[in-house]
């Protein structure tokens, strides 16, 4: 809000300087009314389930079955069915875990950091991004829970979560893996809370619309979760404050969780892992892959659900720019790792990086490097940022690259550690490949259910950024 006093002096200065007037970008195109916004968003939930949804849902369930079979076989037979063998005892399980956790981070960044920095363009995409976060964390959580082999131990009290148990022992709080337990479970829980708090007003809208249509059952279900929301201004004050606080807490969380995930590696002594650059490097990588995934999801959703007025070219442009910044930071981290390895003068560290680039796994390194460092550079060009088909393809490349980043970090360091006599070469088994492939199905199933049953666009928030909502007559001039 600008409450600058316009004295004669300021007027004179302004007349002389003649500053450029840059109009604020329109966030909801075609000057849509509030009623139109409600109708457009609720219409998807209230209408008949379209055929494409059933087709996608069936395919997603089919893909999910790969994970179910893979995990079922793992639990029945033990971790020997995966390709792990000494010295590479961590591979796709942890790669996939870090990959999915990374994707999750964009959702929190959009809802938390962009909320604190008052980036109003976040309003129409934050619900989708937060949903993506929750579903990605769900996919991520599967891997560490299942890679322990005897899965039932992971859920028993006293093993992962500290609780009194028959053995009388407690988890080791010095272990980075125990930090992970707290980080990931906090991340999942807070993301759900954030998402839910934002949903409450929209659930209230749906409750009343279904009631008016005579659909008492659906009205009761939405009404139960709406907690009795009635749009009271006295409630909005508390709601907005809670949302703002969650944004602040979420900002702390988004940087701390990926840092803690990176501690799994950074606190060990393995060359290539034992570096202080890991926490910021992981956070940038996570946000980079997450923004790519947000665009991978938003671009098809925008045209299928006809959301062109909500998700405008300006939104996509902003997303591309953040992806460019994060991708460039990731590229900087790749180069800086080499500088530190050289400057640190540790022969093991130096060997690891030369080995990554030119060793047996060099194909993985160059896939990573080209996808993550070169791909985002296309986003410098306005023409690329407005070509949605091209953006979609580029984001897929970024995600492939980010998966390979984790592969390079984890596998190359383990396969060539200190003792040449224990060196090895890791290849995944078909069980690992199918299990990972299946998690895309898990994600898709959850996401499809989300776009069918919940308001994909936060209606109340989008209404606040329309010119109609401006009661002071200053914001949209």
């Amino acid at each position: 809000m600008s409450h600058v006093e316009t004295t004669d002096a300021t007027q004179a200065i302004l007349a002389e300087v003649n500053p450029a007037v840059k109009p604020r970008p329109v966030l909801v195109e075609n000057n849509r009314s509030h009623a139109w916004i409600t109708e457009r968003v609720c219409g998807i939930i209230e209408g008949k389930t379209p055929l494409w949804w059933w087709v996608c849902f069936a395919v997603a369930c089919g893909v999910t079955s790969c994970s179910v079979i893979g995990f079922g076989y793992l639990v029945a037979a033990g971790v020997g069915v995966w390709g792990h063998a000494s010295p590479v005892n961590w591979a796709w399980d942890i790669i996939n875990f870090v990959f999915w956790v990374g994707i999750a981070h964009a959702g929190t960044l959009i809802s938390a950091i962009l909320c604190l920095t008052r980036q109003n363009w976040r309003t129409s995409i934050n619900r989708t991004a937060e949903a993506m976060t929750i579903f990605s964390v769900a996919c991520a959580g599967l891997f560490p829970a299942l890679h322990v082999g005897r899965v039932w131990l992971a859920v028993l009290p006293g093993y992962l979560f500290p609780a009194p148990n028959a053995n009388g022992i407690w988890p080791n709080f010095r272990s980075a893996l125990e930090w992970d337990v707290f980080a990931v479970s906090t991340y999942g829980s807070v993301s759900v809370l954030f998402w839910y708090v934002g949903l409450i007003p929209d659930l209230g809208t749906l409750r009343d619309r279904f009631f008016k249509k005579g659909d008492k059952i659906r009205s009761a279900i939405y009404g139960f979760f709406a907690l009795g929301w009635r749009g009271s201004a006295r409630h909005w004050v508390n709601h907005e404050m809670a949302y703002l606080l969650l944004a602040g807490i979420g900002t702390l969380m988004v940087v701390s969780v990926c840092s803690i995930v990176s501690f799994d590696f950074a606190t060990s002594l393995i060359p290539g892992w034992h570096t202080t650059i890991f926490p910021p490097y992981f956070v940038c990588g996570a946000i980079f892959s997450g923004f790519a995934t947000v665009m991978t999801l938003l671009l098809p959703m925008r045209s299928i659900l006809k959301f062109e007025d909500f998700i405008t070219p300006y939104h996509i442009d902003c997303l591309c720019k953040i992806t460019l910044v994060m991708g460039t930071l990731v590229g900087y981290a790749y180069l800086m790792e080499f500088v530190i390895a050289w400057y640190g003068a540790n022969p093991n560290e130096g060997f690891t990086f030369v080995n990554r680039t030119f060793g047996l796994y060099n194909w993985a390194y160059w896939i990573m490097f080209s996808c993550n460092v070169i791909t985002p550079q296309f986003f410098w060009f306005k023409k690329v940022r407005s070509n949605f088909a091209l953006i979609f393809i580029l984001t897929i490349f970024i995600n492939i690259g980010m998966w390979f980043e984790r592969f390079v970090i984890i596998v190359t360091s383990l396969a060539r550690d200190f003792l040449p006599s224990s060196w090895g070469y890791y290849s995944p088994s078909i069980v690992e490949i199918l299990t990972f492939f299946g998690t895309f199905g898990v994600f898709a199933v959850l996401f499809l259910l989300f776009i069918r049953f919940l308001p994909v666009i936060p209606m109340a928030e989008v209404k606040t950024v329309t010119p109609e909502a401006d009661v002071h007559g200053t914001q949209h001039s």
Binding site: W179, L193, P201, G231, A233, W236, H239, A242, T464
Partner: protein, 177 residues
């Protein structure tokens, strides 16, 4: 409607309309009244004279509680309940517990914020006279309501109705309790 009504309800078509009307209702000295809006109208809380939310106190209590609980847990388990020497290090040191304590603090602060919001709003409250009104559908869509409750000391059916009509309220009606 023989029983005492819950209050009077008036509709406004625009956010600016309800914003200026709210100032008038506040200045008329009413205490038990409310605006019903489909989205948070910027500055409406000030126009109504609503005080700053107390949700941060809940979040702070949760955050500090979570942080202290995690430190306490690590201290109890490591230094009291089952003393175990790990790498020749002290039984308890706050530094390695920091990630766990920060994360638990974050979790409890978030839960505190949400619980605080629910407590201060009185949620869950699935019944309310306003929710029974047929205007709530449009009030959570694109219309704005002002409700002045009958329990307000200044409430007077005729005078309050006149005030609501004067400040631009449309379709002023009694709201069933």
């Amino acid at each position: 409607m023989d029983a005492q009504p819950y209050g009077l309800i008036a509709t406004f078509d625009t956010a600016a309309g309800v914003y200026h009307a709210a100032k008038n209702v506040r200045d008329a000295g009413y205490k038990h009244w409310d605006c019903i809006t489909p989205f948070p109208v910027h500055g409406l809380d000030c126009a109504m004279g609503v005080k700053r939310s107390l949700v941060p106190a809940f979040a702070l209590a949760g955050g500090v509680g979570g942080f202290v609980a995690a430190m306490g847990l690590a201290f109890f388990t490591g230094a009291i309940d089952y003393k175990l020497i790990v790498g020749g290090k002290p039984f308890f040191s706050p530094i390695p517990v920091l990630p766990v304590a920060v994360e638990l603090g974050i979790l409890c602060a978030s839960v505190g914020a949400v619980v605080g919001m629910c407590v201060l709003c009185g949620f869950p409250k699935l019944y309310h006279p306003v929710l029974k009104s047929d205007r709530i559908v449009s009030a959570l869509d694109d219309k704005f309501l002002i409700v002045i409750e009958a329990r307000d000391p200044k409430f007077n059916l005729a005078n309050t109705r006149a005030l609501l009509e004067k400040i631009g309220g449309l379709d002023v009606k009694e709201l069933e309790a």
